[in-house]
Symmetry: C2
Subunit: 204 residues, 2 copies
DNA sequence: CAAAGTTAATAAACGCTGTTTAGTATACAA
DNA sequence: TTGTATACTAAACAGCGTTTATTAACTTTG
């Protein structure tokens, strides 16, 4: 009996359809504009139908947030070919901040907004994407210190510090808190700050 | 004729009343719960009355955000008596992060939420609180470098880096992105990270 | 003092939001 | 063909920020 398989498939296709509409609307106009009703409108179903496939809005945007991590991880794959751990760290920072610059709404959802974390809480799940990303950073930091490219310090301390710095920079920019610097000054100030920070962590 | 003065005074008192209700609700339950209708309820006026004293919700929460900066600046006054610039920087970091820990909702409004920045945009004003706070940091950094307590680097680069690090730490914690570290590990990891970061900036 | 003008306050509505409920078709199984 | 399970939705609920029209009170003027 292939009927239940087809139904399963159709259910997944519908879920994908909803997700894709949510993703598109979100990327286009941000979280505020991506309402359940507009998602429903776009796929030409009623709002109530959405709730047959997703528990609530948080769950939809948790899915979008996961897709964001997929995009970030895809960009990170280029790291594997870099031999030198410190160069890998440098490139990781570049990728991370470029991602925030290219997809501010996605970055916002992944690292600033509350919605996707609320979805985790309800399902009693771990923040696996976040764990994986942070673990990537930690392993690079470990290699840097092990190789003697980075000053001797606790791996977790270094990883948390570097992430905090990068996230601070990205989130201050995204949430419009860098008004004290004119845009053209920021264009040099931000790369300079990153370079300077790497210099401080580097050994010698 | 003292009538117009009295009216002026009453107008200000009403504005204060609304502001105080907004502040209390916000501190108690956060931004989501502090709706115009609940503010109106609390002071026993109709929601429409609020709009006679504030242009919109953003303007109310811009006022709350300014009050937050007042509280932060009050805490910063203890810095003046510290002679050594690097100790002043250390203390500033401590005050900044303690503030974020003590008043997460206020910190959120001041440095993460979009609402108060939207209010600025509409009035075409500058982010004076932010400018003032950042200038305080910059002057301390300038003194540190001038005195030879901090490694030689551009003042703006150092100030932006330190702020980004501190804000990154605070905002990751407030927006629940540090789940990869159990709370008791964070209790030591965060102070260690701050100490380590200061060590990296310190000369010698 | 009464009439006119000004101001403060609000009830009700508008157009949104996320979510739930009850009911209707349709597709499948017996 | 009949009965049941499934997919879907119209309508409603309860909330939101905000605006409009109206009332009530107070102040000024003739």
């Amino acid at each position: 009996m292939g009927i239940s398989e087809r139904k399963e498939r159709e259910k997944q296709e519908m879920k994908d359809l909803i997700f894709q509409a949510a993703m598109d609307l979100f990327i286009e106009d941000g979280y505020e504009k991506a309402s359940i009703r507009k998602i429903a409108d776009r796929i030409e179903y009623s709002p109530a139908t959405i709730y047959l496939y997703f528990k609530d809005k948080d769950e939809i945007f948790h899915a979008v947030h996961e897709k964001g991590f997929e995009l970030l991880f895809a960009r990170m794959e280029t790291l594997a070919v870099i031999e030198n751990p410190f160069q890998r760290l440098q490139k990781l920072g570049e990728i991370y901040l470029k991602f925030a610059y290219d997809h501010p709404e996605l970055y916002d959802l992944m690292f600033i907004m509350r919605a996707p974390m609320e979805a985790l809480k309800q399902e009693n799940e771990d923040w696996n994407c976040g764990f994986k990303a942070h673990n990537g950073l930690r392993e690079i930091v470990r290699a840097c210190i092990g190789q003697g490219d980075m000053k001797t310090m606790d791996v977790d301390v270094a990883a948390l510090s570097i992430w905090s710095f990068a996230h601070g920079l990205a989130s201050l920019a995204i949430r419009n808190r860098l008004k004290m610097y004119p845009p053209d000054q920021l264009d040099t100030l931000i790369p300079d700050s990153i370079e300077n920070m790497l210099r401080l962590f580097r050994k010698e």
